[in-house]
Symmetry: C2
Amino acid sequence: MTSKQVPHFQAENPMKSAQLFMTKGTGAMSYAENSNWHAMCMEKIWPTVLELVDSMKLPDDDMSIITIADLGCAPGRNTINNVETVLKRVKERYRNGHIPEFQAFFQDLYDTDFNTLFQLFKNSVATIAENVPETLKYFPAGVPGSFYGRVFPRSSVHFVMSTFALHWISKVPSSVLDKTSEDYNGGKIEHERASRATIDAYARQGDVDLRNFLDARVEEMATGGLMLLVFGVRKVYYPYCNTMVNEVKERIWDELVSEGKVDSGLRGSFNNFMHFHYLKDVEQILNSYSEKLIVEKEYVFPFFLYPQNMTAREKAARHASLNRGLYTSMLEDHFGEDITNLYIARYEQALLEGFESGTLTEDETNTYQFVAIVARKL
Amino acid sequence: MTSKQVPHFQAENPMKSAQLFMTKGTGAMSYAENSNWHAMCMEKIWPTVLELVDSMKLPDDDMSIITIADLGCAPGRNTINNVETVLKRVKERYRNGHIPEFQAFFQDLYDTDFNTLFQLFKNSVATIAENVPETLKYFPAGVPGSFYGRVFPRSSVHFVMSTFALHWISKVPSSVLDKTSEDYNGGKIEHERASRATIDAYARQGDVDLRNFLDARVEEMATGGLMLLVFGVRKVYYPYCNTMVNEVKERIWDELVSEGKVDSGLRGSFNNFMHFHYLKDVEQILNSYSEKLIVEKEYVFPFFLYPQNMTAREKAARHASLNRGLYTSMLEDHFGEDITNLYIARYEQALLEGFESGTLTEDETNTYQFVAIVARKL
């Protein structure tokens, strides 16, 4: 259930521009219920992150406040677990003497379902309520806004994390929506098999966004503070993606348009905000901040969606589940609930048939997760 | 529209306990659309508050962050206007030289509709977005939790305000819901014409809550900081209220029960969380904090609902509107949407008939607004 009533088709404005936010609420299609995959990825990274947390510079004044922020947190349990993992580790450093107080900021876009996120705190032991062990206490706050600009006061955050968020660019480049531009991604929702010009337009936007993100963090991070970045990258610049699985999505939208269920203009005006940065661009951009930021550790993991031994049905369900968590509210906002349900059902069914018959094979070789643990220089 | 689906009647649990939160969303019944009255009250107080803001101690470090917090903010425009009024005044003190950065915390209970509040920021010029004048920039954050406990790190807030919130006690005293107790407020929703024992139970809870509130603020306020408190009080301890207008509410619930539309147990398990503190108790409690807090100014205003020259229809509409803003979501949560709509409609109609025929007269002499501007001692 979305919190907004959206007309299924806006005759007067078929070019309604798409909005970016994770699926709302706690229902079967919500982000909150479809994000276990993210937790699996994090498990691999924690040991190194926590080692660096141990050596991180912290304020030496007993009355200080230590601040942890999750940027692009999305309304799920993962964000709380991640923040609390860091929090506990930092608290271990204050076993003797006066313990500083901790504030944790959960940041995401204005349209994010903060109500659902805050309900998770309501019954959490880890807030500042009575009878909570000192090692778990902190003051949570939600911060609405875009992390591609400033969201915190200067030098105020000691540990920043942003996981699986920076591959959501701030906007679909306007030229991609412009029929007169060579960048135009006509008659498509995804840009995975798009023209080189379309991909270039996405890449330019991605680079601008990443620099805006880093500019803001340089201002906001306390000196000696740490930042954990995890987001999708690709190793080959072009073509963006060869994954047959993703080709299925476009085929289903083609069907829905040809059946008259979806207006072609409305379909054309929705373009995916997700764009995996080109690894070399990312490294070059990070390097250009070397005066203020230093990359302590860097990893590039293959994109890991599910174990090899899953059945066709399990794999189809996992793909559909991930897509539900990421896209349902956005699709409903643009196309209405009925079309969204139809699309997701057909997508899962097509994957199942493809995996079972062997006509669908996966080529994930161009998609990776980039992990960097970055320190704010003193 | 509430964000939760609530069964209209829970056969297995007719004693469902009531939850406290302002009416959600932005519809005709929302708090956001029914709180103009609060703004009117604030206009009378601002000149004095701002004068004190001018002399308030602020951090002298140029890199400092100045923090403003609205406690029990509710999801309306008023909270943003109030915070920005203070913010602009503080910023005027930094016309020359380096301006500190400002963080504003909007705090309310977990069930508060923060999504609606954050939507108000989305299109506000007053956030940190580009092209915003320096005098208006700040970093907003939402803080979920109870202000009857700690919600901020120690010594971190420079200006605290809590307006029209402290007359919402933390819970209906359990003895008021206990059929075996002399405090039992049987067969009623309001406690305005309740027994002395019921009123005593409410008053005890109110005193505990007010002390818990002040204990938390003493920890959280920066020394030299200021706090603005505005909340309902009564000058006569008992009876709590003689207002004929409020008697109408109970009559309508009687009708709904006798017509079989509302289960008497369900009605009995809902008791109003609003309790106007006894003025003398409030003053005594504030005095007991004189080592840490000093009351700079105190006012007691008659409860001001509408101008004298309003028509019966306008007055009935104003009462109904205020009740919509305060109670609709809570009533829907407890009784369901249909009963709530029926109750509000009958309430407005009964007031209209009463005002027109002259059978309803108002006696507001026992209800006042208490205003205190309190400094955190150095």
